[in-house]
């Protein structure tokens, strides 16, 4: 079961894959490549098809059209137990009648690995997830975090090229998520295994993945490195989903390109890149990119203030009647609630999209 039988090609490749359930396209002509040793995170709201995409890769579902390739081999027609890719299920799906070693060794046993090799490799996999002394524990006696790591060890133990992770942190307590994510990252780097990681938590994806894909209604809207997705979203959906944002509507100024006329308000400058085509424009600025001062594009009144330790977030009511949120560093003195201020932003930080009328 060494690496000699591996074909060339990316760890996972989907080519124009579609899947319908009851007439509805859950995955709609999606192509995606996960390179060898790459950590790719897929994010999207519930119902966007994230989990279905994983099932198409693992073989639990088969696509209506399109091809699925693992390490360059077409596995579209193969049942799940022939595909050399394992899944970390959202609820872990551990075998409650087996102990930790029995769970982790299951894939090896199914592959016919002899007992002695098996126990050595199980011990190794448990070391990766820092559960060395837990081999003979009952699964029921484990905490949520420990179960999660058993599920991970079970998916890693046969050293296949790719592991699928279905919202692996969602059942964990918030305070465990950060450290578990770091463990996932460390293992991924150490073993050079490819991760296809599904989550609905944008911060997890941005923090940990090499590339992030944003799914919306069965279609991949954008795939790219985290900072690219965050700084240059290709659609209002991506911009909103990847982080909080203030939206202002407007249209192209008649006084020439580079200016946007906000609905019922002032003109604001933009960077010189050509504005999108739609007759209506949508201009988005993230809360931490808003500046408050005596000068600025827009008048606004501070109507609320929340301190969160690292930052202070101010709720503003702008002269346009649109509420805005600004997030300032907590160590900067902020004006009190009720103050009238003017709001501006750096034109480079404004995300502008055209919308159909």
């Amino acid at each position: 079961m060494g690496s000699s039988d591996r074909a060339d090609g990316p760890a996972i490749e989907l080519r124009e894959v579609s899947k319908r359930f009851g007439g509805r396209a859950v995955i709609d002509g999606t192509s995606l490549t996960v390179g060898r040793g790459e950590f790719l995170a897929l994010i999207g709201p519930s119902g966007s098809g994230k989990s279905t995409l994983l099932k198409l890769v693992s073989g639990i579902e088969s696509p209506d059209s399109g091809r699925v390739l693992l390490s360059g081999q077409d596995v579209t027609e193969q049942p799940p137990y022939r595909r050399r890719v394992h899944t970390v299920f959202q609820n872990y799906a551990l075998f409650p009648h087996l102990d930790v070693a029995g769970n982790v060794g299951f894939p090896l046993r199914m592959a016919g690995v002899d007992r002695r090799t098996r126990s050595a490799r199980v011990a190794q996999a448990l070391d990766w997830v820092e559960l060395g002394p837990f081999a003979s524990r009952r699964v029921e006696a484990l905490s949520g975090g420990e179960r999660q790591r058993v599920a991970l060890a079970r998916a890693l133990v046969s050293e296949s090229e790719a592991v699928l992770l279905d919202e692996p942190l969602s059942a964990l307590d918030p305070h465990l998520r950060t450290q578990t994510l770091e463990l996932l990252q460390d293992i991924q780097e150490r073993l050079k295994v490819a991760y296809l990681y599904v989550t609905h938590d944008r911060e997890e994806a941005l923090r940990a993945a090499h590339r992030v894909g944003v799914l919306n209604q069965g279609r991949l809207e954008q795939v790219g490195p985290p900072e690219e997705i965050y700084r240059r979203p290709v659609s209002p959906f991506v911009a909103s989903f990847i982080g909080p944002i203030n939206w202002l509507s407007g249209e192209r100024s008649e006084q020439g390109d580079g200016w946007v006329e906000l609905s019922g308000g002032p003109r604001v400058p933009t960077t010189s890149r050509t504005l999108p085509a739609g007759p209506k424009l949508l201009l988005g600025v993230r809360p931490q990119d808003l500046w408050l001062g005596l000068e600025g594009f827009l008048g606004a009144r501070i109507v609320g203030r929340q301190f969160s330790g690292t930052s202070v977030s101010l709720r503003l009511m702008s002269e346009l009647g649109v509420p805005l949120t600004a997030e300032l560093r907590a160590d900067v003195e902020t004006p009190p609630v009720g103050t009238d201020v003017r709001v501006s932003w750096s034109p480079e930080e404004a995300h502008i999209f055209g919308v159909a009328p």
Partner: protein
């Protein structure tokens, strides 16, 4: 957390179960006069008869019959339970109600129905009795099996397939071990009452199939050999208690099939 003392059910168990059982046990160790009345002095005559050459073949036949009925119910019930567990929740609930129906409607009615349905060649035979018993006891097997199948997280089977198990391996290594406690419970619920069954052998057997239940009634009511009948009832109890205790042990050790979520 230690709950309040459970006196009411304890009283129930002692008064309604333990006391009658002990009374029968005491009768089994008494002598009798010829009219069938129990006398004060002790005697092991009842036990000697109950374990003698008349009783032992009947005991053997009863246990073999109960075992065969249990096996038939398991073989018929398991596929039914698997199919039902995959139904949507509402339909499953309706099925449970429908399947409970034979349990609660008059046994007599069904026995007489069967009596007339059975081919003449089966009436008054052990085969005929076994057939009717299997039909009557199948729901006792089906309901605990269905509950066990329902509790198996479907993702666990998918995980087995995902991790390289063929469908047969997934059944053999995952589904079956997880539903085994339900199978054991179902087997107990069938085997135990089947071993002491009276009504079906009485009416379907037409007096030609003697099992423990019919023998005990005959000795109590007709021959009025109370020490023998009591000892036979105790033998039945012992024969039943041993597998029951074993099955409780086994199912008590069985895992909870659906692991709980992460707890804080």
């Amino acid at each position: 957390m230690k709950g309040p003392a459970a006196w009411p059910p304890l009283i129930y168990l002692v008064a309604f179960f333990l006391v009658p059982t002990c009374l029968v046990a005491s009768y089994s160790l008494r002598a009798r006069d010829f009219s069938g009345h129990i006398r004060a002095e002790a005697s092991v005559e009842g036990w000697r008869e109950a374990t003698g050459s008349y009783s032992m073949p009947i005991l053997g036949r009863s246990l073999a019959l109960a075992g065969a009925v249990t096996a038939a119910c398991l073989v018929l019930g398991y596929p039914c339970a698997m199919v039902l567990a995959r139904q949507p929740k509402g339909q499953r609930r309706a099925w449970v109600v429908l399947l409970s129906f034979p349990l609660v409607t008059s046994q007599l009615l069904r026995i007489f129905g069967w009596l007339n349905l059975l081919p003449l060649s089966l009436r008054g035979t052990t085969w005929g009795v076994g057939l009717v018993m299997a039909a009557a006891y199948l729901p006792f097997m089906l309901l605990p099996l269905l509950r066990a199948c329902e509790r198996v997280d479907p993702d666990v089977r998918l995980a087995a397939l995902d991790l390289g198990a063929t469908p047969w391996q997934a059944f053999h290594r995952v589904t079956w071990p997880l539903t085994r406690p339900g199978a054991i419970a179902g087997c107990s619920l069938v085997f135990i009452p089947a071993a002491g069954e009276y009504l079906i052998p009485h009416f379907i057997g037409e007096g030609k199939v003697t099992v423990l239940g019919t023998m005990i009634v005959e000795e109590f009511m007709e021959r009025r050999n109370w020490p023998f009948a009591s000892a036979a009832a105790m033998v039945l109890l012992i024969v039943i208690v041993v597998p029951a205790a074993v099955s409780i042990r086994l199912s008590g050790k069985g895992p909870r099939a659906r692991p709980g979520g992460a707890s804080e």
